[in-house]
């Protein structure tokens, strides 16, 4: 396996930065997320970032196109993404899995979302294996292999004081080619991950939910929910959006921004009817979508076990205990 000392990682990133716009997991103030690589950024390799990289592909707010009224007609203006390839270094398996989920939603079943596709096509990924799960991690229970990410161009392995690199795709081979001179060949093995603190058995939960739409557990689960929507924003797989527009004189900008199924207005209809009038229906929808509707449609869970929703919930509404509750329900 090709390896590099962690201490020399910045040399590699500097080389890559000549070719790509490199994004790395870094600590900023009290939080951590993917930011543009510079020499002085505080890269974190010992744990996953608090904010997933989903906004690289699906920004919080995204301008879609502009319009302008000219006399009696309209002129359309497309908005082009910034040119050049991006390289995302150090994405964990759970977040790579979430990209797989996004691909299903935005690129399959006969519909292609151009806004997503343009961004997705311009990114090369270097996934990084996890050596030690965090307190809230449960990816293996969701069928994610923390050592081998799906869809990565390069798979990197945490080997203690070194990092091992392995090209997976053609795009990945090109990346390795660029930095080959800075890597050494060593006989390292793929490491074994540490044990998970959070133990969940999600087998059969999708099937079990088929008959549970009217189950009383939803009253219980939703009781303490504050409807704050924090879980949906930090979730790497949540992908709901709202399309809106800003009008300034003759200029109109259409944009889309993240929305959340936790909000009443999300399903509010123009006539006033709301099919999900209370938080019970909304909380139910969130879990049904993740664990039942999505598997039904795409044959995979819409949860990657990253644990971020557990970390941000003000009232400790924990998806793993919801799964337990579902499995234990009559």
């Amino acid at each position: 396996m090709l390896v590099v000392l962690k201490a020399k990682l910045k040399d590699i990133l500097n080389t890559l930065a000549e070719e790509y716009k490199v994004l790395v997991p870094a600590k900023i103030e009290d939080t951590s997320k993917f930011i543009s690589y510079k020499d002085n950024v505080d890269i974190i390799l010992d744990e996953n970032v608090k904010l997933s990289p989903k906004d690289v592909f699906f920004p919080q707010t995204e301008k879609m196109y502009k319009m302008k009224t000219v006399k009696t007609s309209m002129e359309l203006e497309n908005i082009t993404d910034e040119a050049g390839k991006k390289l995302l270094f150090g994405v964990r398996s759970c977040d790579m899995k979430s990209l797989d989920c996004f691909d299903q939603v935005f690129l399959t079943k006969g519909y292609i979302d151009e806004f997503y596709k343009n961004k997705r096509d311009s990114v090369v990924t270097i996934a990084l294996s996890c050596s030690q799960p965090m307190q809230t991690c449960f990816c293996s229970a969701m069928g994610v292999d923390s050592q081998k990410a799906v869809g990565a161009d390069v798979q990197a392995y945490d080997l203690g004081d070194k990092i091992g690199l392995e090209a997976i795709s053609d795009e990945g081979s090109k990346v390795i080619e660029l930095i080959k001179g800075q890597l050494t060949e060593e006989g390292a093995e793929v490491p074994q991950p540490g044990e998970f603190y959070l133990k969940v058995d999600a087998d059969g939960v999708s099937e079990k939910l088929n008959g549970m739409f009217e189950s009383p557990i939803w009253d219980d689960v939703s009781k303490k929910c504050l409807n704050c929507g924090a879980c949906t924003y930090v979730c790497p797989t949540c992908h709901c959006f709202d399309i809106s527009q800003e009008v300034r004189g003759e200029n109109v900008t259409k944009y889309r921004c993240w929305d959340s199924c936790m909000f009443g207005e999300y399903t509010q209809m123009a006539g006033g009817h709301n099919p999900r009038p209370t938080k019970k229906e909304r909380v139910r929808n969130r879990f049904m979508h993740k664990l039942n509707y999505f598997p039904d449609r795409y044959n995979m869970l819409l949860c990657t076990g990253c644990g971020r929703c557990i970390n941000v919930c003000p009232v400790n509404l924990d998806i793993t205990s919801v799964i337990k509750q579902i499995k234990e329900a009559e």
Binding site: D30, T31, K223, N227, G229, V234, C313, P314, V315
Partner: protein, 259 residues
């Protein structure tokens, strides 16, 4: 159509919301170009009587005289906007409704001569009249104010979405003050629209914009007691502040009538 006639009225308040209406300096002259401010005592000497197209009412109702004035405002204005938390919910002055003293006791604390003091429990203006639009916040948010004016000029609904402050806070990528800093932040039950101003500045949300839609005050009250270590009286103080009059926030107080 001529320029709409706009009036600003002040009930019991600090004038901060009216001042916010003037604090739009870069575009103040533009706004004055599209509306006709016919009544604004704080800003001008020549004020004209109604009827008005839009009436902004700042402040809570705390005396019988104000109630009469308010009823007249409703008759004179086609659109009434409750401007600021005092007008929407009673605001800070409404704390006296919950301080455990009778109206007479409250009066005696401040004044020695009581013969012509006529005060009443403090409520927002919609306790007495129909209100068309609400601008929440202590003080109001400038952008919401401009969005409202713009919408009224265009004749469309401004569609404010009162999600919880958490919504905006998490989009700003702030660290959660409640979970990670153990501060008694009211953001999760409070309506957004402020851009999560206070939490972004390291200050816990105090709930000045009133309850969010789907506010779950009981659940947050439990977190305050269990995780943050507030006493029942502290929790009561948290909810009986800017919008203690609302049924949503009073649920957070539970059976504890006052602090």
């Amino acid at each position: 159509m001529g320029k709409p006639k706009v009036a600003f009225f002040k009930l019991s308040s600090c004038a901060g919301c009216q001042l916010t209406a003037l604090n739009i300096e870069p575009i103040l002259l533009d706004v004055l170009g599209v509306v006709d401010i016919t009544y604004f005592v704080m800003a001008k000497r020549e004020n004209h009587g109604g009827p008005y197209d839009i009436g902004f009412v700042e402040g809570a109702v705390t005396s019988p005289r104000e109630l009469e004035e308010l009823k007249k405002i409703r008759e004179e204005c086609s659109v009434v906007v409750a401007m600021g938390t005092c007008a929407c919910f009673g605001g800070i002055p409404s704390i006296k409704n919950f301080c455990g003293m009778t109206q007479k006791e409250v009066e005696a604390k401040v004044y020695t001569e009581l013969w012509d003091i006529k005060s009443m429990p403090v409520y927002g203006i919609d306790y007495y009249i129909d209100v068309d639009y609400y601008l929440r916040g202590c003080p109001i948010d400038k952008n919401e104010y401009l969005i409202l004016i713009k919408s009224l000029l265009k004749g469309i609904n401004p569609l404010f979405r009162f999600h919880s402050v958490c919504n905006e806070c998490i989009l700003k990528e702030n660290v959660c003050l409640l979970i990670h800093k153990k501060k008694a932040c009211m953001g999760s039950v409070t309506a957004s629209g402020c851009g999560a101003l206070c939490p972004s500045l390291g200050r816990e949300c105090e709930g000045c914009r009133g309850p969010a839609s789907d506010c779950n005050a009981e659940s947050l009250a439990e977190v305050f007691m269990k995780d943050i270590g507030l006493s029942k009286a502290d929790v009561a103080r948290k909810f009986l502040k800017y919008a203690g009059n609302t049924p949503e926030f009073s649920k957070g107080v539970g059976h504890y009538e006052h602090y």
